[in-house]
């Protein structure tokens, strides 16, 4: 051992300390970056007195994966819930004010009043007005649903573009990791970037990953379709310019495999894409079917009957008039084409007395044969028919047999039932995403206080080493002066 060895050791210590300080200062600088993983400077002693500093990156694979899957689940659930919020508001209005159910209730009231004073033309016109409200509610609701589907379709298109661009960026980040790993340089920054992209991707689609040699990462979707392997797989989707009731939407393909839509209020959809597909083809389409069935129920309830004549459309009519839609079978788009019979509409040259007396389809259907102005039997019968059970298509997802007014109310019940589940599940999944993000941050994030105390340590080491050099220097100086 010699003084020069001591000097070398002190020098090496200074070097190691300054590199450690660099790591500490980098950690402190990125303390607030959620995608930053703490770097750990590991000092190893090699030859006696020589030290080298390795930079490691704090990771926790398990927590990271949990966080990714929680993010996907929340993202899918949130897409469903917020979409349903918008959909419910545009179809049913605030407090269901513009829902078909409310409009039918008003029609029943107007009908009751007209049945009490059948000779009063003004009250008759009120019934026709109420009927128009019902028609408007169905027409507007139907349009709102199809607009919503078109909008969601556009959002899916945007999301697919985003996903493709994220996968492109992922390719760059992955390449940087691989080449860095091969050349043995510090790839922590590239890894940070790759993980951050993975978080963004899992917002759209649930992912599972595995890492091969040279830190090369392969990304699959949760159900096993390859999303990225050396190069990104293409995610394809053709948006539609508009939707009609009953028309199925285009699927989203990853590597030519279609993504399946979620189902249920506490949705199985993971990732925004599956959630939006569920909205477009599940919830909104079912709601449309229910409006169509409500429209069919109304046309049927108000149909004109006559002995040995086929039933014919009455107050409510449709393009297939004078025939009445077949019982118990869904007709797609009926809610958008239902209208008030012109023969009864004063603004279209008709008269509400036709509703009172019957005969919109010819003299054979006239029920008020004596022509009395206070004939109320037919009006009362219509009121009864609105309350009479009829059969509905099970494809629309709710009660197969009920009265048309109950059907409209049940439709609201169905929607709110799904919405409630979606809301509760969204709360739970949000909490889980938040919790896993916290846990991940705790495991891999930076604690400034810890870094600062580390810094104090480093400062002391540095001071000690410097003092050591000074002392050796003094000793050498003393030696030299003694010699000199």
């Amino acid at each position: 051992m010699s003084l020069s060895t001591a000097l070398n050791i002190a020098q090496s210590a200074l070097l190691a300390t300054s590199r450690q300080t660099a790591v500490v200062s980098r950690n402190v600088a990125d303390a607030d970056n959620p995608n930053y993983s703490r770097r750990i400077a590991v000092v190893t002693s090699t030859a006696p007195g020589a030290r080298s500093v390795d930079i490691q990156r704090a990771t926790d694979d398990l927590l990271f994966r949990q966080n990714l899957s929680a993010l996907s689940a929340y993202s899918g659930q949130n897409a469903l819930y917020s979409g349903m919020d918008r959909l419910g508001l545009s179809v049913n209005g605030v407090d269901n004010a513009s829902s078909p159910s409310t409009a039918i209730a008003n029609l029943q009231k107007a009908l009751q009043l007209y049945a009490t004073s059948p000779s009063n033309q003004n009250i008759g016109s009120t019934v026709i007005d109420a009927a128009k409200q019902v028609v408007r509610s169905l027409n507007d609701g139907s349009k709102a649903i199809q607009d919503f589907r078109t909008q969601t379709d556009g959002e899916i298109g945007t999301a697919v573009n985003d996903l493709n661009s994220l996968l492109g960026q992922f390719q760059d980040a992955n390449r940087a990791v691989i080449s860095g790993t091969r050349s043995g340089t510090d790839v922590s920054d590239a890894l940070d970037q790759r993980d951050a992209l993975l978080k963004k991707i899992s917002d759209y689609i649930p992912v599972s990953t595995f890492t091969r040699g040279d830190n090369d990462m392969v990304v699959n979707t949760a159900d096993g379709t390859t999303l990225f392997e050396t190069i990104p797989r293409s995610v394809t989707f053709t948006p539609s310019s508009g939707y009609a009731a009953g028309a199925a939407g285009n699927a989203v393909y990853i590597d030519n495999v279609p993504i399946s839509a979620g189902s249920g209020g506490n949705t199985t959809a993971s990732g925004k894409l599956a959630g939006m597909l569920q909205l477009r083809d599940g919830v909104a389409a079912t709601m449309q079917s229910q409006l169509d069935e409500t429209a069919r129920g109304l046309i049927t309830a108000f149909a004109e009957t006559a002995p040995s004549m086929p039933n014919a459309t009455g107050l409510f009519t449709w393009p297939g008039a004078p025939g009445v839609p077949p019982s118990g079978a869904l007709i797609n788009g009926l809610a958008s084409t239902i209208s008030v019979n012109a023969a009864m509409d004063p603004s279209a040259g008709g008269s509400p007395t036709v509703l009172r007396d019957g005969g919109a389809n010819g003299a054979a259907y006239v029920a008020n044969t004596s022509g009395g102005a206070s004939y109320s039997t037919l009006l009362v019968a219509y009121g009864d028919k609105l309350d009479k059970p009829m059969s509905f298509d099970p494809a629309a997802g709710i009660s197969v047999t009920s009265s048309v007014s109950d059907y409209a109310a049940n439709s609201i019940g169905w929607f709110q039932g799904v919405r409630q589940q979606a809301s509760t599940a969204a709360d739970a999944k949000e909490a889980l995403a938040q919790r896993t993000a916290d846990a991940l941050s705790n495991a891999t994030g930076v604690n400034v206080d810890q870094e600062m105390s580390l810094m104090l340590d480093l400062e002391h080491t540095y001071q000690a080493s410097a003092r050591m050099m000074k002392t050796v220097d003094d000793m050498l100086a003393a030696l030299l002066s003694a010699v000199g």
């Binding site: 703490r38 009043l113 102005a373 206070s374 109320s376 009362v380 609201i412 039932g417």
Partner: protein, 347 residues
């Protein structure tokens, strides 16, 4: 080693604060309205119940309102029937005095005449633009005026007399009509004018069909009367005979027959009208019972809706207070946590 990252530490309260603030908005709304903030989220699939209750509540209130109209019509009908009954009563008393030989023929005749006029005017009463006694044909006067010029009823009556006897009642030859002849005339010629095709042709525009109304969610009942009721026809017939024939040249014997037939008929008319009165009364009772029943239902439905959608205002207010307190605590804690840093001690 458990570790906490600085980001997690500073963000610890943020998520909770966000949730509590969202809850505060809800609690404030609930506290001020007394109803849950979002019925759909609170009730889920049971929202259908609440919608159905509200709808039925509206309908019940609507029927209660329309029952008011029906009650007005029925009580106007009842009043008119009372007036008819009084008119019949006064005709009966003048007929009684005539039969005992007290009244002059002309007085009896004018009594018949005025009864006929009263009958016409009472039966043509309208309420809300609807003729009360028209059956369903409420936009046409139910009874044609017998005394009006060109009255087909009068023409038919006069023609039947001439056809039977070959001369008018004013003809001196009328004095030879026997009691039996008069009796036969009334039975075979006059009666068909009131109980046969003649009534609908000359007298009445009313229909036998009555207005049917819904008086409760599942209860329909006829709620009008018709001028075609037997009692009314009988009164009209008696009054017509008295007013047309009493001051004529007809023999005393024939007049006696006429008076006795009319008296019987008015008696029958009175009981017929009484029957209609009591029928109307029964319907009035049904309507008012239905209304009472529905009002009870309305109360019940309102309570159900409150059970479903209501929140305990005290609980909501407490929740607002608690949440405010929690949020304040959370703010205070956040501020303290921000102060907590080693940097402060490193100088």
């Amino acid at each position: 080693m458990t570790s906490v990252s600085s980001a997690a530490l500073t963000n610890a309260m943020r998520y909770q604060q966000m949730r509590m603030q969202a809850d505060l908005v809800k609690a404030t709304k609930e506290s001020s309205t007394g109803r849950v903030a979002d019925v759909g989220l609170a009730l889920g699939a049971r929202t259908a119940q609440s919608v159905t209750f509200s709808r039925d509540l509206d309908r019940l209130n609507g029927i209660v309102d329309s029952n008011g109209l029906i009650s007005a019509r029925l009580s106007a009908t009842q009043t008119s029937l009372g007036q008819l009954s009084a008119a019949a009563q006064s005709l009966l008393s003048s007929l009684t005095s005539a039969s005992s030989g007290d009244g002059a023929n002309s007085i009896t005749q004018s009594s018949g005449n005025s009864t006929l006029q009263q009958l016409t005017s009472i039966l043509n009463t309208s309420v809300n633009g609807e003729y009360l006694f028209a059956g369903t044909n409420t936009d046409v006067k139910p009874i044609n005026d017998f005394s009006a010029a060109g009255s087909s009823a009068k023409a038919a009556f006069d023609a039947s007399f001439v056809a039977r006897f070959g001369f008018t009642p004013a003809d001196p030859a009328a004095a030879n009509i026997t009691a039996a002849q008069m009796d036969s005339f009334i039975t075979n010629d006059v009666q068909p004018q009131f109980f046969g095709a003649g009534w609908q042709a000359n007298w009445s525009n009313a229909t036998d069909q009555q207005i049917v109304s819904r008086i409760a969610l599942n209860e329909n009942t006829p709620t009008s009367t018709s001028a075609n009721q037997d009692g009314i026809r009988k009164l009209a017939m008696a009054a017509t005979i008295v007013s047309s024939l009493m001051s004529s040249n007809i023999s005393k014997a024939a007049k006696d027959t006429l008076i006795s037939r009319s008296t019987t008929m008015v008696g029958e008319a009175l009981s017929g009208i009484g029957q209609v009165q009591s029928q109307t009364g029964i319907i009035q009772k049904r309507v008012s019972d239905a209304t009472d029943r529905m009002k009870t239902q309305v109360d019940l439905f309102e309570r159900h809706i409150l059970d479903l959608e209501g929140v305990d205002p005290a609980e909501a207010a407490t929740r607002v207070a608690n949440l405010t307190q929690h949020i304040e605590n959370s703010f205070a804690l956040t501020a303290r946590l921000q102060q907590l840093s080693l940097l402060k001690y490193l100088t």
